[in-house]
């Protein structure tokens, strides 16, 4: 663990702790601390069962997106790649919506994350198949845009055919992204998948480093590009699917987090993985803290807040990229 990772981990911990201490209940800091320690069962419930799981869900979602974004960028050798841009998140949302609307969620609640992950994997497969073996940048982005629109259209179709008008607000959640009212059981449901995705993705690290000079060089260095592709694809499908089933589609974290930490790890595609995850987690935990405390009549959706900050950052990266002599 490098110093950068320690700092980012501490930042995430700080954001999570602040999230546990602040909220809509009219409690002073002292009351909150004493209550959380067990003096007041009601306050303990608020801190440990309402605020803590929500903060953890935000951090986990951000970390999953940051990690898969860094891995996808390394694999595709493209700083604009990411779960949202490539349509993987939209497909995961579609999977969740499909599971709900065909009644699979009622059969067993783990059908939702399973469907989200399966559809995320489907999107990655489609990307590889349609963008060609050389994973050309422009084609990839265009295919990603197409996949996003396609998934969006199918989600809209599901909303059109919604069984009643009152369930629509829940459906909007899947598209905008939110961690409001997440509880520990929700996290327990996706934790194994997140862990699996993290292990797979991190295992691809050294291969991603070798891939920075192209597939032929990587293969000649014994780094097996095909294996790296498989690891990153499976890992990203697990990470994105799990994060979407926890929080819906939250954009831009996966693109911006790796970009933010890359200069700090000397642009090493392997060393960027862990700090990118930690940065994504800290960023989303802070964003959710902001969302909860912002003085609006209605709570802002986390995905909206993430896009408000992330979209300009993404445009900035894209603009600088076209200027650089690549």
């Amino acid at each position: 663990m490098t110093r950068l990772s320690l700092v980012l981990a501490a930042l995430g911990l700080l954001a999570t702790a602040l999230s546990c201490l602040a909220g809509s209940a009219p409690l002073t800091l002292g009351e909150t601390l004493r209550g959380a320690a067990g003096a007041d069962p009601a306050v303990a419930t608020i801190v440990w069962e309402i605020r803590a799981p929500r903060a953890a869900a935000a951090w986990l979602t951000g970390a999953a997106l940051g990690l898969s974004g860094a891995a996808l960028q390394g694999l595709l050798r493209n700083p604009l790649a990411g779960p949202g841009v490539l349509g993987v998140s939209a497909f995961a949302s579609l999977g969740a919506v499909v599971a709900i609307y065909f009644g699979l969620a009622a059969a067993a609640i783990w059908f939702v994350p399973l469907a989200a992950m399966a559809f995320a994997g489907l999107a990655v497969l489609a990307l590889i198949a349609l963008a060609g073996r050389r994973l050309d940048t422009v084609r990839l982005i265009l295919v990603g845009v197409g996949l996003s629109s396609f998934a969006g259209a199918l989600i809209s179709l599901a909303m059109n055919l919604a069984p009643n008008p009152f369930s629509l607000s829940d459906m909007v959640n899947w598209m905008l992204g939110s961690v409001a009212n997440r509880a520990w059981p929700d996290i327990g449901l996706v934790a194994p998948t997140l862990a699996l995705g993290a292990v797979l993705t991190l295992a691809a690290g050294p291969s991603l480093r070798a891939l920075s000079l192209g597939e032929d060089v990587a293969a000649s260095l014994g780094a097996a590009p095909a294996r790296a592709r498989l690891l990153v694809m499976m890992g990203s499908a697990a990470l994105i699917g799990a994060s979407v089933s926890l929080a819906g589609a939250i954009g831009f974290v996966g693109v911006v987090a790796p970009h933010a930490v890359r200069p700090l790890v000397r642009h090493d595609p392997a060393a960027v993985l862990l700090p990118s995850a930690l940065a994504g987690g800290a960023a989303l935990a802070l964003a959710d803290l902001f969302v909860r405390l912002a003085p609006f009549d209605q709570e802002l959706k986390l995905g909206v807040a993430a896009a408000l900050i992330g979209a300009p950052a993404f445009i900035f990266i894209a603009a600088r990229l076209s200027k650089a002599s690549r």
């Binding site: 309402i50 008008p165 829940d170 509880a183």
Partner: protein, 264 residues
């Protein structure tokens, strides 16, 4: 000859009678809230069409929609039926409404009601537009009003999507009509303040839509939160009939009476 004269006289009398009663407009309703008013107030032969949602599970008077033509709230479908009147609360676009006016079709707009008085007002207004004021008045007279009591217990309206209703909403009015204190306070429709509920748990939980659509049990639903389930378990839980909540019609008062009865 005499008989013929009598027949003629009877015919004239009949025609005069028909003329003395104002002609009842034919009507199409554009959304399921408008459907409730039309199904409850209009004569069946006035109704040229109701909305596609009129027979859905969330439509209170769905049984009466049986056998009626159901149309989409699009301009061409409605104009093709040549009604004298359309009733709407949110159905149909602004452009369609312009078309209706051009074709001389009246538009009756159902307003927003914040209280029981508003419910009476809307019922009366739509009844008048339909030429069925007598029916409207009889429905209004039949609206039960629970015996006034002092509000002691606090109640909270709960939906699985995490929405609750404060003052200045129909549900807020319902809570007062049932002699309860509204635990959500001011602020109209709002998201459920889960943290404040833990600090001040309501004595009565008025739940709606929880068992409404079990197939679509949404993973997002607040109803799955263990903390909320504990609060619900400790409170007196009254299930509302959600079909009587979503439209400012006379049957809202029956829901208030049902709550008051459940509290006894």
């Amino acid at each position: 000859m005499k008989r013929l004269g009598a027949l003629l006289a009877a015919g004239v009398t009949l025609a005069a009678a028909a003329q003395s009663e104002p002609a009842r407009p034919t009507v199409v309703s554009l959304d399921y809230c408008a459907d409730q008013f039309v199904l409850g107030l209009a004569d069946r032969d006035q109704i040229l069409g109701v909305s596609k949602d009129a027979d859905k599970a969330f439509s209170h008077l769905r049984a009466r929609a049986d056998g009626l033509r159901q149309v989409r709230a699009s301009g061409e479908d409605v104009i093709a039926l040549r009604p004298d009147l359309v009733v709407r609360s949110w159905g149909g676009s602004a452009r369609d409404l312009d078309f209706y006016r051009r074709f001389g079709i009246e538009v009756a707009q159902i307003g927003y009601a914040q209280d029981i008085e508003g419910v009476r007002r809307e019922t009366r207004a739509i009844g008048e537009a339909l030429g069925r004021s007598a029916q409207a008045e009889s429905l209004i007279r039949a609206m039960p009003s629970p015996a006034p009591r002092s509000a002691e217990r606090s109640a909270l309206y709960l939906t699985p999507g995490g929405v609750t209703a404060g003052e200045r909403t129909l549900v807020g009015a319902l809570i007062h009509a049932a002699a309860l204190e509204n635990g959500a306070g001011e602020g109209g429709w709002q998201s459920l303040p889960l943290e404040r509920l833990v600090l001040a748990p309501p004595a009565v939980a008025l739940t709606a839509f929880f068992e409404f659509d079990t197939d679509a049990a949404d993973h997002w639903s607040l109803s799955r939160h263990p903390v909320l389930n504990r609060i619900l378990a400790d409170a007196q839980r009254i299930r509302l009939d959600e079909t009587r909540l979503t439209c400012p019609a006379w049957f809202v008062a029956q829901e208030a009476a049902a709550i008051a009865e459940a509290l006894e």
